[in-house]
Protein backbone atom coordinates (compact mmCIF):
# COMPACT_ATOMS: atom_id res chain seq x y z
CA UNK A 1 0.00 0.00 0.00
CA UNK A 2 2.95 2.25 -0.57
CA UNK A 3 1.70 3.27 -4.00
CA UNK A 4 -1.66 4.69 -4.95
CA UNK A 5 -4.42 2.48 -6.27
CA UNK A 6 -7.58 3.25 -8.21
CA UNK A 7 -9.40 3.46 -4.90
CA UNK A 8 -7.01 5.00 -2.43
CA UNK A 9 -3.89 7.07 -1.95
CA UNK A 10 -0.87 5.06 -0.87
CA UNK A 11 1.31 5.69 2.13
CA UNK A 12 3.81 7.92 0.32
CA UNK A 13 1.16 10.21 -1.15
CA UNK A 14 -0.59 10.44 2.21
CA UNK A 15 2.59 11.24 4.09
CA UNK A 16 3.58 13.92 1.63
CA UNK A 17 0.08 15.43 1.60
CA UNK A 18 -0.14 15.81 5.35
CA UNK A 19 3.47 16.76 5.87
CA UNK A 20 3.10 19.54 3.33
CA UNK A 21 -0.30 20.62 4.64
CA UNK A 22 1.21 21.02 8.11
CA UNK A 23 4.29 22.82 6.81
CA UNK A 24 2.36 25.18 4.52
CA UNK A 25 -0.07 26.24 7.23
CA UNK A 26 2.85 26.56 9.63
CA UNK A 27 4.82 28.72 7.18
CA UNK A 28 1.82 30.95 6.67
CA UNK A 29 1.43 31.61 10.40
CA UNK A 30 5.18 31.92 10.88
CA UNK A 31 5.43 34.36 7.97
CA UNK A 32 2.74 36.64 9.35
CA UNK A 33 4.24 36.51 12.82
CA UNK A 34 7.88 37.02 11.94
CA UNK A 35 7.41 40.18 9.86
CA UNK A 36 5.91 41.94 12.88
CA UNK A 37 8.85 41.23 15.18
CA UNK A 38 10.77 44.11 16.68
CA UNK A 39 14.38 44.46 15.60
CA UNK A 40 15.53 43.72 19.13
CA UNK A 41 13.45 40.58 19.47
CA UNK A 42 15.53 37.46 20.14
CA UNK A 43 13.81 35.68 17.28
CA UNK A 44 14.16 38.52 14.73
CA UNK A 45 16.80 36.62 12.81
CA UNK A 46 15.93 33.04 13.72
CA UNK A 47 12.35 32.88 12.49
CA UNK A 48 13.01 34.17 8.96
CA UNK A 49 15.89 31.72 8.77
CA UNK A 50 13.55 28.85 9.72
CA UNK A 51 10.82 30.13 7.37
CA UNK A 52 13.19 30.21 4.40
CA UNK A 53 14.85 26.90 5.24
CA UNK A 54 11.58 24.99 5.58
CA UNK A 55 10.25 26.72 2.47
CA UNK A 56 13.21 25.59 0.36
CA UNK A 57 13.08 22.03 1.68
CA UNK A 58 9.38 21.98 0.96
CA UNK A 59 10.13 22.86 -2.63
CA UNK A 60 12.19 19.69 -2.90
CA UNK A 61 9.38 17.65 -1.35
CA UNK A 62 6.91 19.21 -3.78
CA UNK A 63 9.02 18.21 -6.77
CA UNK A 64 9.17 14.68 -5.38
CA UNK A 65 5.42 14.72 -4.82
CA UNK A 66 4.68 15.79 -8.38
CA UNK A 67 6.99 13.12 -9.76
CA UNK A 68 5.42 10.49 -7.55
CA UNK A 69 1.99 11.62 -8.72
CA UNK A 70 3.10 11.29 -12.32
CA UNK A 71 4.05 7.62 -11.91
CA UNK A 72 1.10 6.54 -9.79
CA UNK A 73 -2.51 5.84 -10.58
CA UNK A 74 -4.88 8.52 -9.29
CA UNK A 75 -7.80 7.44 -7.13
CA UNK A 76 -11.05 8.14 -8.95
CA UNK A 77 -12.56 11.44 -7.91
CA UNK A 78 -16.02 11.25 -6.38
CA UNK A 79 -19.07 13.52 -6.53
CA UNK A 80 -21.04 15.13 -9.33
CA UNK A 81 -19.27 15.87 -12.64
CA UNK A 82 -19.14 19.57 -11.74
CA UNK A 83 -17.65 18.81 -8.31
CA UNK A 84 -15.07 16.54 -9.85
CA UNK A 85 -14.06 19.17 -12.35
CA UNK A 86 -13.80 21.86 -9.66
CA UNK A 87 -11.84 19.51 -7.41
CA UNK A 88 -9.40 18.86 -10.22
CA UNK A 89 -8.82 22.56 -10.87
CA UNK A 90 -8.51 23.37 -7.18
CA UNK A 91 -5.86 20.67 -6.79
CA UNK A 92 -3.95 22.02 -9.78
CA UNK A 93 -4.25 25.55 -8.39
CA UNK A 94 -2.92 24.39 -5.01
CA UNK A 95 0.16 22.90 -6.66
CA UNK A 96 0.68 25.97 -8.81
CA UNK A 97 0.29 28.38 -5.90
CA UNK A 98 2.76 26.43 -3.80
CA UNK A 99 5.36 26.60 -6.56
CA UNK A 100 4.73 30.31 -7.15
CA UNK A 101 4.99 31.15 -3.44
CA UNK A 102 8.25 29.30 -3.12
CA UNK A 103 9.69 31.02 -6.17
CA UNK A 104 8.56 34.48 -5.07
CA UNK A 105 9.95 33.90 -1.55
CA UNK A 106 13.25 32.85 -3.07
CA UNK A 107 13.29 36.01 -5.19
CA UNK A 108 12.84 38.24 -2.12
CA UNK A 109 15.85 36.93 -0.27
CA UNK A 110 18.12 36.62 -3.28
CA UNK A 111 17.29 40.04 -4.78
CA UNK A 112 20.73 41.40 -3.88
CA UNK A 113 22.58 38.33 -5.11
CA UNK A 114 22.90 36.73 -1.68
CA UNK A 115 22.41 33.00 -1.38
CA UNK A 116 19.81 31.47 0.97
CA UNK A 117 21.20 29.36 3.76
CA UNK A 118 19.11 26.33 4.51
CA UNK A 119 19.55 25.46 8.20
CA UNK A 120 23.31 26.09 7.92
CA UNK A 121 23.29 22.88 5.94
CA UNK A 122 23.58 24.01 2.33
CA UNK A 123 23.11 27.19 0.32
CA UNK A 124 20.86 27.95 -2.60
CA UNK A 125 22.56 30.55 -4.79
CA UNK A 126 20.82 33.56 -6.29
CA UNK A 127 19.89 33.48 -9.97
CA UNK A 128 17.62 36.37 -10.91
CA UNK A 129 18.88 39.36 -8.96
CA UNK A 130 19.18 43.13 -9.05
CA UNK A 131 15.93 43.79 -10.89
CA UNK A 132 14.68 47.24 -9.96
CA UNK A 133 12.45 46.87 -6.91
CA UNK A 134 12.77 43.07 -6.98
CA UNK A 135 12.47 42.43 -3.26
CA UNK A 136 9.41 44.67 -2.97
CA UNK A 137 7.57 43.25 -5.97
CA UNK A 138 8.40 39.66 -5.06
CA UNK A 139 7.37 40.43 -1.48
CA UNK A 140 3.96 41.78 -2.48
CA UNK A 141 3.38 38.79 -4.75
CA UNK A 142 4.51 36.41 -2.00
CA UNK A 143 2.08 37.90 0.49
CA UNK A 144 -0.88 37.92 -1.91
CA UNK A 145 -0.26 34.37 -3.09
CA UNK A 146 0.05 33.17 0.49
CA UNK A 147 -3.38 34.60 1.34
CA UNK A 148 -4.85 33.14 -1.86
CA UNK A 149 -3.40 29.73 -1.09
CA UNK A 150 -4.79 29.74 2.44
CA UNK A 151 -8.23 30.76 1.20
CA UNK A 152 -8.19 27.94 -1.34
CA UNK A 153 -6.99 25.48 1.29
CA UNK A 154 -9.95 26.44 3.47
CA UNK A 155 -12.28 25.73 0.55
CA UNK A 156 -10.43 22.47 -0.12
CA UNK A 157 -10.75 21.35 3.51
CA UNK A 158 -14.43 22.29 3.64
CA UNK A 159 -15.00 20.26 0.49
CA UNK A 160 -13.26 17.28 2.08
CA UNK A 161 -15.51 17.60 5.13
CA UNK A 162 -18.56 17.85 2.87
CA UNK A 163 -17.59 14.57 1.19
CA UNK A 164 -17.19 12.99 4.58
CA UNK A 165 -20.21 14.25 6.49
CA UNK A 166 -22.75 15.11 3.83
CA UNK A 167 -21.99 12.84 0.87
CA UNK A 168 -20.76 10.18 3.30
CA UNK A 169 -18.25 8.88 0.73
CA UNK A 170 -14.69 7.79 1.48
CA UNK A 171 -12.90 10.78 -0.10
CA UNK A 172 -11.43 11.95 3.19
CA UNK A 173 -10.82 8.47 4.55
CA UNK A 174 -8.70 7.41 1.61
CA UNK A 175 -6.37 10.33 2.23
CA UNK A 176 -6.02 9.52 5.94
CA UNK A 177 -4.26 6.76 7.82
CA UNK A 178 -7.38 5.37 9.43
CA UNK A 179 -8.69 2.08 8.16
CA UNK A 180 -11.24 3.06 5.60
CA UNK A 181 -10.63 1.57 2.25
Amino acid sequence: MIKNSEHSYGLVAKLMHWLMALAVIGLFALGLYMVELDYYDRLYRTLPHIHKSIGILLFAVLIGRLLWRRFNPQPKPQGSPAERRIAHWVHMALYLLMVAIMVSGYLISTADGRAIEVFNWFEVPATLADIDGQEDIAGDIHEWLAWTLIALVALHALAALKHHFIDKDNTLKRMTFFKGE
Partner: protein, 199 residues
Protein backbone atom coordinates in the same frame (compact mmCIF):
# COMPACT_ATOMS: atom_id res chain seq x y z
CA UNK B 1 44.15 108.04 -39.52
CA UNK B 2 47.41 106.40 -40.32
CA UNK B 3 47.79 102.66 -40.18
CA UNK B 4 49.66 102.83 -36.90
CA UNK B 5 46.85 104.64 -35.11
CA UNK B 6 44.28 102.27 -36.65
CA UNK B 7 46.15 99.30 -35.35
CA UNK B 8 46.41 100.78 -31.85
CA UNK B 9 42.70 101.54 -31.82
CA UNK B 10 41.82 98.04 -32.94
CA UNK B 11 43.97 96.54 -30.22
CA UNK B 12 42.30 98.75 -27.67
CA UNK B 13 38.81 97.78 -28.80
CA UNK B 14 39.47 94.06 -28.88
CA UNK B 15 41.16 94.37 -25.49
CA UNK B 16 38.13 96.13 -24.07
CA UNK B 17 35.73 93.62 -25.56
CA UNK B 18 37.76 90.72 -24.26
CA UNK B 19 38.02 92.08 -20.77
CA UNK B 20 34.31 92.77 -20.54
CA UNK B 21 33.67 89.24 -21.73
CA UNK B 22 36.04 87.90 -19.14
CA UNK B 23 34.54 90.07 -16.46
CA UNK B 24 31.03 88.89 -17.10
CA UNK B 25 31.96 85.22 -16.99
CA UNK B 26 34.15 85.66 -13.95
CA UNK B 27 31.93 88.01 -12.06
CA UNK B 28 30.06 85.92 -9.55
CA UNK B 29 26.54 86.10 -10.84
CA UNK B 30 23.74 84.31 -9.15
CA UNK B 31 23.19 81.19 -11.22
CA UNK B 32 20.93 78.23 -11.00
CA UNK B 33 22.70 74.91 -10.86
CA UNK B 34 21.22 71.52 -11.65
CA UNK B 35 22.43 68.51 -9.68
CA UNK B 36 24.69 66.43 -11.91
CA UNK B 37 22.49 63.34 -11.77
CA UNK B 38 23.48 62.17 -15.26
CA UNK B 39 27.13 62.01 -14.35
CA UNK B 40 26.27 60.75 -10.85
CA UNK B 41 28.21 63.51 -9.17
CA UNK B 42 25.68 63.73 -6.44
CA UNK B 43 25.10 61.37 -3.53
CA UNK B 44 22.66 61.22 -0.67
CA UNK B 45 24.01 58.87 1.92
CA UNK B 46 22.98 57.93 5.41
CA UNK B 47 24.71 56.39 8.33
CA UNK B 48 23.19 54.89 11.42
CA UNK B 49 24.68 52.84 14.20
CA UNK B 50 23.95 49.14 14.14
CA UNK B 51 23.08 48.14 17.71
CA UNK B 52 25.49 50.85 18.76
CA UNK B 53 28.38 48.62 17.63
CA UNK B 54 29.27 49.87 14.16
CA UNK B 55 28.24 52.26 11.40
CA UNK B 56 25.83 51.10 8.75
CA UNK B 57 25.87 53.08 5.49
CA UNK B 58 23.34 53.33 2.75
CA UNK B 59 22.18 55.75 0.11
CA UNK B 60 19.26 56.88 -1.98
CA UNK B 61 19.81 56.10 -5.63
CA UNK B 62 17.15 58.35 -7.13
CA UNK B 63 16.81 62.03 -6.37
CA UNK B 64 17.15 65.35 -8.09
CA UNK B 65 17.54 68.99 -7.18
CA UNK B 66 18.73 72.45 -7.98
CA UNK B 67 20.50 75.21 -6.13
CA UNK B 68 21.10 78.91 -6.59
CA UNK B 69 24.48 80.17 -5.66
CA UNK B 70 26.42 83.38 -5.95
CA UNK B 71 29.90 83.41 -4.48
CA UNK B 72 29.66 87.17 -3.98
CA UNK B 73 26.40 86.93 -2.12
CA UNK B 74 26.28 83.51 -0.47
CA UNK B 75 23.44 84.41 1.85
CA UNK B 76 21.13 84.51 -1.16
CA UNK B 77 21.75 80.82 -1.85
CA UNK B 78 18.86 78.38 -1.94
CA UNK B 79 18.43 74.63 -2.48
CA UNK B 80 15.62 72.28 -3.52
CA UNK B 81 15.87 68.51 -3.34
CA UNK B 82 13.42 65.74 -4.15
CA UNK B 83 14.15 62.18 -3.10
CA UNK B 84 12.52 58.98 -4.31
CA UNK B 85 12.50 57.32 -0.92
CA UNK B 86 11.95 53.81 -2.27
CA UNK B 87 15.35 53.99 -3.97
CA UNK B 88 16.95 53.35 -0.59
CA UNK B 89 19.88 50.96 -0.88
CA UNK B 90 21.82 49.55 2.03
CA UNK B 91 23.28 46.62 0.08
CA UNK B 92 20.94 44.07 1.64
CA UNK B 93 17.59 43.34 -0.04
CA UNK B 94 15.77 42.03 3.04
CA UNK B 95 16.90 44.98 5.13
CA UNK B 96 15.98 47.47 2.39
CA UNK B 97 12.53 45.94 2.19
CA UNK B 98 12.16 46.27 5.94
CA UNK B 99 13.33 49.89 5.91
CA UNK B 100 10.85 50.72 3.14
CA UNK B 101 8.05 49.18 5.17
CA UNK B 102 5.60 50.78 7.54
CA UNK B 103 7.83 50.80 10.60
CA UNK B 104 10.35 52.99 8.85
CA UNK B 105 10.00 54.96 5.63
CA UNK B 106 6.56 53.65 4.63
CA UNK B 107 7.30 54.35 0.99
CA UNK B 108 3.95 53.12 -0.31
CA UNK B 109 2.27 55.95 1.51
CA UNK B 110 5.06 58.53 1.34
CA UNK B 111 7.05 57.86 -1.83
CA UNK B 112 8.74 61.24 -1.89
CA UNK B 113 10.78 63.33 0.48
CA UNK B 114 11.50 66.98 -0.28
CA UNK B 115 13.76 69.61 1.11
CA UNK B 116 13.18 73.31 0.45
CA UNK B 117 15.60 75.78 1.93
CA UNK B 118 14.42 78.93 3.66
CA UNK B 119 17.70 80.65 4.50
CA UNK B 120 21.44 80.37 4.19
CA UNK B 121 23.86 81.94 6.61
CA UNK B 122 27.46 82.23 5.51
CA UNK B 123 29.86 81.48 8.32
CA UNK B 124 33.02 82.31 6.40
CA UNK B 125 35.78 79.94 5.39
CA UNK B 126 33.49 78.17 2.91
CA UNK B 127 31.15 77.07 5.68
CA UNK B 128 27.53 77.93 6.20
CA UNK B 129 24.24 76.92 7.74
CA UNK B 130 21.36 76.03 5.45
CA UNK B 131 17.93 76.08 7.03
CA UNK B 132 14.86 74.68 5.40
CA UNK B 133 11.86 72.41 5.58
CA UNK B 134 12.29 68.68 5.20
CA UNK B 135 9.19 66.76 4.32
CA UNK B 136 9.84 63.13 5.13
CA UNK B 137 7.30 60.39 5.79
CA UNK B 138 4.50 62.95 5.76
CA UNK B 139 6.11 65.08 8.48
CA UNK B 140 7.42 68.54 7.67
CA UNK B 141 10.07 69.82 10.00
CA UNK B 142 12.60 72.61 9.89
CA UNK B 143 16.15 71.31 9.85
CA UNK B 144 19.55 73.02 9.75
CA UNK B 145 22.16 71.54 7.44
CA UNK B 146 25.86 72.26 7.93
CA UNK B 147 27.24 73.18 4.53
CA UNK B 148 30.80 73.10 3.31
CA UNK B 149 31.86 74.57 -0.02
CA UNK B 150 34.12 72.13 -1.84
CA UNK B 151 35.06 73.76 -5.13
CA UNK B 152 33.83 75.50 -8.28
CA UNK B 153 34.92 76.33 -11.81
CA UNK B 154 34.81 75.13 -15.38
CA UNK B 155 35.18 71.45 -16.18
CA UNK B 156 37.79 70.41 -18.76
CA UNK B 157 35.10 69.18 -21.17
CA UNK B 158 32.36 71.63 -21.74
CA UNK B 159 30.28 74.66 -21.09
CA UNK B 160 28.63 75.36 -17.79
CA UNK B 161 30.11 76.15 -14.46
CA UNK B 162 30.37 73.49 -11.81
CA UNK B 163 30.05 74.05 -8.08
CA UNK B 164 30.16 71.46 -5.35
CA UNK B 165 29.10 71.30 -1.74
CA UNK B 166 28.71 68.87 1.12
CA UNK B 167 25.82 69.14 3.53
CA UNK B 168 25.45 67.13 6.72
CA UNK B 169 22.61 66.86 9.18
CA UNK B 170 21.54 64.51 11.97
CA UNK B 171 17.87 63.52 11.97
CA UNK B 172 16.07 61.95 14.89
CA UNK B 173 14.07 58.95 13.64
CA UNK B 174 11.23 59.58 16.07
CA UNK B 175 10.77 63.15 14.81
CA UNK B 176 9.62 61.64 11.54
CA UNK B 177 7.42 58.96 13.04
CA UNK B 178 9.90 56.13 12.64
CA UNK B 179 10.61 53.47 15.22
CA UNK B 180 13.85 54.04 17.08
CA UNK B 181 16.55 51.61 16.03
CA UNK B 182 17.40 51.13 19.69
CA UNK B 183 19.77 52.71 22.17
CA UNK B 184 22.69 54.46 20.49
CA UNK B 185 20.84 54.49 17.16
CA UNK B 186 18.17 57.14 17.60
CA UNK B 187 19.68 59.40 14.96
CA UNK B 188 20.48 58.89 11.33
CA UNK B 189 23.30 61.01 9.89
CA UNK B 190 22.63 62.29 6.41
CA UNK B 191 25.27 63.48 3.98
CA UNK B 192 24.44 65.24 0.74
CA UNK B 193 27.39 65.50 -1.62
CA UNK B 194 26.43 67.42 -4.66
CA UNK B 195 27.99 68.92 -7.74
CA UNK B 196 25.77 71.23 -9.72
CA UNK B 197 26.16 72.43 -13.29
CA UNK B 198 24.93 75.92 -14.12
CA UNK B 199 21.92 76.05 -16.42
Amino acid sequence: MNTYAKKALRTLITGLALSTALLTTNSAMAREYQFDIKGAHAFIQFQIKHLGFSWLSGRFNKFDGTFNWDAANPNASSVNVEIDVASLDSMHAERDKHLRGEDYLNVDKYPQATFTSTSYTDQGDGKGLLKGNLNLRGVTKEIAIDVEFIGAGKSPWGAGLHAGFRGTVALKLEDFGMRSMGPGAEHVYMTLDVEGISK
